[in-house]
Symmetry: C2
Subunit: 995 residues, 2 copies
């Protein structure tokens, strides 16, 4: 599909301002409406060339049909049934007749046209002024509403005015009776599936003047739904007849002879109601639908729409995020779409495409817990609880699946509607066992944020016990090392499959096991009766949880000592590097152009895997580790998954790369509005929409919520003036307003208080007492290099090298010496040897290095406090006065001796141990770790260096750099010499910097 014009940027709506057949499919997804239970795609009401194709969609969340799953070569345990959310008969049809001409946007002329999704009101409104081929005219406004107050009900309300040249005005309201599920493009695994068979059998249809009542049952899954379509009209219209054509029912209304259409203001409302056997007794289905419609007609369309509007306003009250920037529309569209799609009754979940289309067959994935749940947890915790309740409702099927897989406990399905595994390609399906740990993670986060211990007792505990059991069953303790290993799994990155010890899986298993043990303990204490009951029902004994903790402690977490990064799995880092220069190998998404075996063979990622673990298990990683993992994996992450950019954005933000973070964020926030992946026609990307919230709150606002405590590090993109939002925490609502300069925290309610942290500083917010603080991090520490910054030992180095060179007959000079600045001892020796074209054995090299060091150490004895470089004592004094901490970050193992002789050892809050550093400058480790040891973020520190490698290290660590002398010219702030270090100037520059 070609790229088509984007929607104009508006704060509270998404508007199509002209009609085009080309965008009908795409916009049917964008203009979908839903209430978590019922959903309509944005198909047009009038008959057109596209009706019956995939533009129209009518869904009950979780209402599915099954059909045999066919395999070329099947094997034991492959799911034998497909499930697909059924596209129900389309009830929305309305045709408008002006005498013998029917309204059709492709005929005549559209004098005015807008179709607009009103995000603030939750309505889809189409306004048109149309002239027919024969010159007749009509003004038409169609408002579509799926009620968020009455989940079974939808209303389509039409207002017809401005008729010209019309003798007889007619409306034909239609209602299809056959499923719209269609055959789709089978070569793209991301689209939906159709059926070979006719999925619905009508059990009952009753047509009574203005109203049809229909009851249909699926052919295979045996689910039943009832549907009522009822037409309400004003006195300007009268019923001319209603008729059942088999596959469609039509109700015809026309202006009575007494009415002159030219004078008429015609209103016509269509009430649509669905019930299903998922939530209602079969025998009650028809009656319930009729009662709902009776009640709705009594209330009237206008009030039905108004109460819905009010509900949506309340939604925004708690859920809106204001950024005052061009991404505003995308953010709101995304949050609104998630809200429209999430099941709210514990019987259904949120599909990968929500209620917007048939893509991914309406299946529920890990997307819920990892990408969408945090939004609800912090804005509508009751919905988060219901989504997790759904998992509890399918626990029995998960137990059954574990049995099929020869395991104990429960294995949740990788993709499902009814709880049965529906993945037909196990290497990227069932093998993603991590779904179990993802659900446990979702439960943990939800319980910590909401404090909903009742959920933990009633539902969570069983899930946690059964998932923990599964891990013990599938993992094994290695005889040699005692480590707990899990083989033959697939992690989140679907461009690598069936590997041993996927890092992500293993660390998530660790938290699953630990949280299960912790929950058992807490429920036993707080709800002893519940504990007793569950333990008996599940034959649980506490020895089991001891084994969980043993396994958790022993979980093998692969790490590469040489690269200093976490290995994605046991063999990932041994695989061949990806060739980004070969155009044949770089058509995206790769999965549509390369065989899985090709993709699996290389170091190439579909989406973050270790880096996702860096985010989710944030506390388990040092800052330098996150930098290294990100630096290694991010360049080889294609982002072919819509789940990728939000995570990349969050980690880029955390590492201080705000521009990168913003560029990833844009891909997430407008993925669907701009149809970035050219597949919105299949439905919107719910997980990426959830990811938008994650990127905003965890990324730019820097929320971290380990163990339930909230902390923030605002890192606003340059394009934004604010980032305002609310978080619900244990029933309290914390309002956060982050401006470019100041951030305000305020708390709802009376007499409540909440301890949070802001850039690492504890803050207690009390209701009625907003707290304001600086948005940007304040300067808290200065981290010094030693040589050339504090003192100049370079002359001693020069003398030591010269002595060695003289003894060995090497060429040496001041020029050569200049090239040794900031370079390690053995690397310096190599430069000297190169200059003399000498090659030496390793042992001899080592010996020479040692000898030079001895000479150097002898020379160091000449150091006294007078050897401090000019300006340094004064500069350090100012820092002490300003209560700015200081640290020494020198690569030299002689540093402690040097500062001792300088007499300034006690002046430093921290002296880094050079021997404990894994990688020397220009690696950022020594600076980043120094900040971490001081309990600070790099953004709160300044690093001072005289060498290029040192400046590079400071910058790579996301720290403000001050350079001394010409070699350090790449620093953000430079001075010629130490005597020029002026605290106030530096502080001003620090405070004025771009983040």
């Amino acid at each position: 599909m070609n790229k088509i014009e984007s929607f104009p940027v508006e704060p509270w709506s998404v508007t199509e301002s002209s009609y085009s057949r080309d965008v009908l499919q795409r916009n049917a997804s964008i203009f979908f409406l839903g209430n978590g239970y019922l959903g309509f795609r944005g198909g047009l009401e009038e008959d057109g060339p596209e009706r019956g194709s995939s533009t129209h969609g009518t869904f009950i969340n979780g209402f599915y049909e099954s059909s045999p799953q066919v395999y070329g070569e099947a094997a034991f345990g492959f799911p034998d049934k497909k499930q697909a959310m059924l596209n129900l008969p389309d009830p929305t049809g309305i045709n408008i007749y002006l005498d013998d001409e029917v309204f059709n946007p492709e005929a005549g002329e559209l004098l005015e046209y807008t179709r607009s999704l009103k995000l603030d009101e939750g309505l889809l409104v189409r306004d048109m002024y149309w002239q027919s081929d024969k010159g007749r005219r009509v003004r038409l406004k169609i408002t579509r509403c799926i009620s968020s107050v009455r989940q079974h009900l939808a209303v389509i309300s039409c207002r017809i005015t401005g008729l010209e040249g019309v003798e007889k005005f007619r409306i034909v309201s239609t209602c299809s009776t056959v499923s719209e599920s269609h055959e789709s493009n089978k070569s793209d695994p991301r689209t939906g599936a159709g059926f070979m068979h006719s999925p619905l059998n009508c059990e009952c249809r009753d047509l009574d003047r203005d109203r049809a009542v229909i009851l249909q049952r699926t052919a295979n899954s045996g689910l039943v739904f009832s549907e009522v379509v009822s037409n309400a009209h004003c006195s300007e219209l009268s019923l001319a007849g209603s008729k059942d054509f088999g596959d469609r029912i039509e109700f015809t209304y026309e202006t009575p002879d007494a009415v002159d259409p030219q004078q008429a203001e015609i209103s016509f409302d269509k009430f649509i109601c669905f019930y299903s056997s998922i939530e209602e007794e079969e025998s009650r289905l028809a009656d319930a639908a009729v009662e709902t419609v009776d009640e709705a007609e009594k209330v009237g369309a206008a009030l039905i729409i108004e109460e819905h509007r009010q509900h949506i306003r309340e939604f925004w009250e708690t859920s809106d995020i204001e950024i005052d920037g061009e991404m505003q529309q995308g953010i709101r569209f995304n949050l609104f779409s998630i809200y429209q799609s999430a099941g709210r009754d514990g019987l259904r979940n949120i599909a990968a495409k929500g209620l917007s289309g048939e893509g991914y067959e309406g299946h529920y994935f890990w997307d819920t817990e990892i990408y969408v749940l945090p939004f609800f947890t912090y804005t509508s915790p009751e919905i988060a609880g219901k989504l997790l309740e759904y998992r509890y409702s399918i626990l029995e099927q998960a137990r059954g699946r574990a049995r099929v897989m020869s395991e104990k406990g429960a294995l949740f399905p990788w993709r499902t509607i009814n709880g049965e595994e529906a993945s037909a390609y196990f290497p990227a399906g069932t093998a993603q066992y991590h779904i179990n740990a993802d659900i446990a993670y979702g439960i943990k986060k939800y319980v910590k944020a909401s404090g909903d211990m009742k959920f933990l007792a009633d539902c969570g505990l069983e899930i946690l016990i059964e998932t923990a059991r599964f891990w013990i069953s599938i993992g094994h303790f290695c005889d040699d090392t005692g480590s707990f290993r899990i083989d033959c799994v697939t992690g989140p990155d679907e461009y690598t499959a069936i590997v041993n010890n996927n890092y992500f899986t293993n660390i998530m298993v660790k938290q699953n096991l630990e949280y299960a043990a912790d929950s058992v303990r807490r429920i036993k204490e707080d709800f002893p009766d519940v504990y007793q009951q569950v333990a008996e029902a599940l034959c649980f004994s506490e020895e089991e949880s001891l084994l969980w903790l043993k396994a958790a402690a022993a979980v093998y977490l692969p790490y590469d000592e040489k690269l200093c990064v976490h290995a994605q799995d046991d063999t990932f880092l041994q695989k061949e590097a990806w060739d980004f220069s070969n155009p044949d190998m770089n058509m995206h998404p790769l999965l549509l152009h390369l065989h899985p075996l090709v993709i699996y063979r290389y170091q190439i990622l579909k989406q973050p895997d270790v880096v996702l673990a860096n985010f989710l298990m944030n506390d388990s990683f040092s800052r330098i580790q996150k930098i290294r993992d990100y630096n290694y994996y991010n360049p080889i992450t294609t982002g072919d998954s819509s789940l990728a950019p939000c995570i990349q954005s969050i980690m880029a933000a955390e590492l201080g790369r705000v521009e990168d973070a913003y560029s990833y964020f844009m891909k997430t926030a407008r993925m669907d509005l701009d149809d970035i992946n050219s597949n919105v026609s299949d439905g919107v990307h719910i997980a990426a929409m959830g990811g938008t919230w994650l990127s905003l709150i965890y990324g730019f606002a820097g929320l971290r919520d380990s163990e339930g405590q909230l902390s923030f590090c605002p890192r606003l993109p340059a394009a934004w003036n604010c980032l305002n939002f609310k978080l619900n925490h244990k029933g309290m609502v914390l309002r956060i307003k982050m401006g470019r300069d100041r951030t305000e925290y305020s708390l709802s309610g009376y007499n409540s208080s909440l301890k949070i942290s802001h850039w690492g500083q504890p803050v207690t917010v009390r209701s009625g007492n907003p707290i304001e603080t600086s948005t940007r991090p304040e300067l808290k520490a200065v981290i010094f290099d030693l040589d050339g910054v504090i003192t100049d030992t370079s002359e001693y180095h020069y003398l030591a090298w010269q002595r060695l060179a003289d003894e060995e007959g090497f060429i040496f000079s001041r020029d050569i010496n200049e090239r040794l600045r900031g370079i390690s001892r053995l690397a310096s020796l190599d430069i000297i040897l190169d200059a003399s074209s000498v090659r030496l054995a390793g042992s001899k090299r080592f010996e020479l290095g040692e000898r030079k060091n001895e000479y150097y150490k002898e020379l160091l004895k000449q150091i006294t406090p007078e050897s401090l470089l000019p300006g340094i004592p004064e500069f350090m004094k100012v820092l002490k006065e300003k209560r700015i901490k200081t640290a020494l970050a020198s690569a030299s193992r002689n540093a402690p001796e040097v500062i001792d002789r300088l007499g300034i050892t006690d002046d430093f809050d921290l002296v880094m141990d050079a021997a404990a550093v894994e990688k020397g400058k220009p690696d950022p480790e020594i600076f980043v770790s120094a900040a971490e040891k001081l309990g600070l973020y790099p953004e709160q520190c300044i690093g001072i260096e005289d060498a290029a490698a040192g400046v590079e290290a400071i910058r790579a660590g996301g720290m403000f750099s001050v350079g001394i002398g010409s070699a350090a010219a790449e620093a953000t702030w430079t001075v010629d010499g130490t005597e020029d270090l002026n605290f106030n100037d530096i502080l001003a520059a620090f405070n004025a910097r771009d983040l």
Copy 2:
């Protein structure tokens, strides 16, 4: 299916001696006939309840229909078409009427009944004497022949005699016109597939009195076949009519009124002929078939059958294997079935089920090159060449497949008929890239054995270049180690999938690359024009072959230093051990009871993988390595693949475990006759049949053919008196008669000679001059332990330990000392420490061991030639006289000093270096390696030991053991002391032993 009665053991036939509906399916496979081109399953001629079901099968090898391949979740590069060998319309129908009663073996009474596959004649003969319900009688003999001389022709010849009570005798000959391909059990991946559509469209049918001519085209693959069915009858019958019923044509013959059936000897012959567009122009198809039948009718059925019989006799002349034992029938049935199934025209190959059934959809696999080709290479090399020519015929498709897989060169399909990949489960399909190297291996073996350089030039070279290119493309040189690695592959063991550096694949790739480079060089020398042409067509430059050799030299071959075994792949040995005690996990075949992800996660094999490499790349492994690999992998090999037992048998034989070898052989040799896997009804197991030949020739006869040189090591099972067979080597026929005592080698032709080896001894066989030698290995060497055998240093050990114990205050005694016999120094120390309940740090342990050794070495200075144990000088003298080699295999690093002091250093042909031994006794390494260094097989050596661990080592190495003293009681021959070593007694025992 229940186990049903086996066939009685007969040397030259397989006979069913009563009719039973229960065995129709199974026996339809067993009684199949074929000539490599045309094949019939053994369905009955008469109509019965089973006609049209899978008992009947009519196949043209390689004639297939395609249909869409459906996937639950498809991905790029998955084959989009299924191929299946088509079950053609059944032409064999013959119904016999006795007045109003039709012959039916389930009605009336079968007074006599046999159906017999005549292996020596290549015919299926049914002899019956039947009485109808009303008492009428008939004697009926039906002979079925598919001509091996005229590949398009089959004849069914009926003789009817002994009619009683019959007024009118009638024969209705039928010929179906619709395909019999049927839907099969989709849950078992090993069965065939049916079609959803009607696979054949009739293009022409012509019915003329006795004869029908039919031309049909497949719906999707577009292949065409012609079929002529023609009935020839004696004067006792006349044509009563022929009629086309649409799905079936009937020809009715009856006795004329003038003939009294009671007196008649009726003959009725049915000629059946098929041609296909695979080998013939479409326009010629009908004419060719008519001409063939015209000619056949002219010759007459009797002569057609006789010339076929003669052909089969010639087949046996070169191909028979005589064993004079109960496995004889199975061996002949298997060889015959392979011969019947193998394509002979270069346009078709040999299907997994041959021409016996639709199992595995008639696909060709690696089975051909690895399991079946050796038989043809050594008995009918022209067929071997044609089978490889088929591979050349699909090279273009293989190139295309490599492109789809983003690789250079060519990738042969894992399973195919038409050359396109047809595997629908890539982890056990396309990922088995080793097929490429298997084909290269088959070419190499064929060319070396046949000397067919023309094939190498015309076909082989291109295949070798393109497969070598594929490996360079898919592998990569590791940055760190420079090793050449191949990731994401599946080896032969299908219970492990998608791993890195599968050992089998990598070592086979190595030979592929080396042989490709070698072939390029040879063809360039010997056929410079061909070389020039190929090099130009393939844009080949010699630098490529340098890269092949670089990669071959660098191929990474995983080895576990601790276990001293080759690792099946990078992570296999880290996986969890299989739990053989859990009944739920041990239902076989596992693939029908466990999900692939479960199976893949464990150390469990479907079939040999490393051990198959041990066999195929025999020269690359030391004897001890083969023992260790076999000992590690064989116990975890389920044998769930029919390809397993033959390989297990061969390696067991090589390692001297002849009983094990025989028990595996039985599973191979009678797999189908005894329906061991309960699935013969789908067709016979062609690869296992080829494996029968492999087990006999490579296993029990011990053939090895590295670089074309033949060597033998006969290891006859106790049940057999002989093993007689012939091998074709570069046009010469070598006849081998292995009796229990003597083996005779003779050579056909005039003035030719062949160098072979027998138990390692070079033998030159000249035509007309048979050579006889001992079947059993003769004694060639005696390998001595030192301590307690040559001299007794145990007293010195005792004294040294005692001194140490006294110094350290440990408990020590003669009793404790006894427990140290044959045990290493540090292990001895541990026993002493245990006795005193002392625990020591590693360094202290080491120091104590060293100290004891110093004391011991001081004591050793007391050794003189007088310290030789009694009898030893005399025994060694006899050995020298008899020219028996001697070696010293002592674990002591002091051994050289000891024998020096004893003055016998020069008496040994070999003194093993204890420091070079990876594993001490009871591991067999030191003995096995000693034999190998002497250029001998363990079976040619005796090992002498005084310690239990030493005896265990000798036995584990497959060597004859002589034990001295009570601790060595487990030895095969024992004496009380060295003075009792009597060479003649030992030699007699050695010669009389069971192998």
